[in-house]
């Protein structure tokens, strides 16, 4: 059951990224290029994705468990700190430089050629680097 759900949602996520044009870095960078030839496509993608997910959150609020019997995630404390905003800022900078975020970077691995592989390897290195620094500093996650 869990295997089928994971595979299905990964596949649908990947197809959605491809269909929406979000694996094309030119479209993503076009959205961020507010002072150039602005491309609003990403806003339609985000809007389209938020609609079914908003319904899912309403349904989740009325249930206790998922289909596999896992507890549905509780609402996290609304803590907006330097860690959240600093991380988002670093991510936003990297996102603009190449036009790839983690989802599309993975979804395009098969056809993205060597630039996609270099980006992906660097992203994994960045994640491991963070975990290494985090563990050394003993900062609570």
């Amino acid at each position: 059951m869990r295997a089928a759900i994971s595979l299905l949602s990964g596949a649908l996520f990947g197809l959605g990224l491809l269909v929406s044009g979000m694996t094309d870095t030119a479209k993503v960078q076009g959205f961020l290029d507010l002072f150039g030839a602005w491309d609003p496509t990403l806003a339609f993608v985000m809007g389209g994705a938020i609609l079914p997910m908003a319904v899912a959150w309403v349904v989740a609020g009325r249930r206790r468990l998922s289909l596999t019997g896992e507890p549905l995630p509780a609402r996290p404390a609304a803590i907006i700190n330097a860690r959240l905003l600093g991380g988002a800022a670093l991510f936003g900078a990297g996102w603009a430089l190449v036009g790839l975020c983690p989802g599309p970077a993975i979804a395009s691995l098969s056809f993205g050629g060597w630039p996609g592989l270099v980006f992906f390897a660097s992203m994994v290195l960045g994640m491991i680097g963070f975990q290494w620094r985090d563990a050394r500093k003993g900062v609570a996650a």
Partner: protein, 142 residues
């Protein structure tokens, strides 16, 4: 006349949202690409890990088959290795520090009206717009 790109964007977006809904209601998980990837080298072999691994198999495999059927797809990514490495490091480090990316904070967080998700999304889009403005129109490197 609405541009076709916008319609494909909306259609693909709906697919992404339904994928996230299946992940949440089906298995009680928040569909965040950065979290799933970073989880691949944690508790390897557990049922949670197997779920993440299969999610990645679908995420890589489905577009691979679709792109092949369509006769290929393009990312149009830069071939500047310095930009690729720098961007990859920033995205990897930043998404772990901030605990999420476009899917986790953007899709899953904003649809829940989560203050953290909204704050993170506004921040990474705003910084992305500034970096793009400076990098493309002032420095000419992007």
């Amino acid at each position: 006349m609405i541009p076709m790109d916008w319609i494909y964007g909306l259609l693909g977006g709906l697919m992404i949202g339904i994928a996230a809904a299946i992940y949440l209601l089906g298995d009680g998980r928040i569909m965040g690409a950065s979290g799933v990837i970073a989880g691949l080298w944690q508790s390897v072999g557990s049922t949670v890990w197997q779920g993440r691994a299969l999610f990645v198999v679908g995420l890589v495999g489905a577009p691979a088959i679709a792109a092949w059927a369509m006769g290929g797809a393009e990312t149009n990514a830069t071939t500047n290795p310095v930009l690729l490495v720098l961007a990859g490091l920033l995205v990897g480090y930043g998404t772990r520090l901030g605990n999420g990316c476009t899917s986790g904070h953007g899709v899953c967080g904003m649809s829940r009206l989560s203050p953290r998700g909204i704050a993170a999304t506004v921040t990474f889009v705003a910084v992305g717009v500034v970096v793009m403005a400076v990098g493309r129109h002032v420095l000419g490197v992007i």
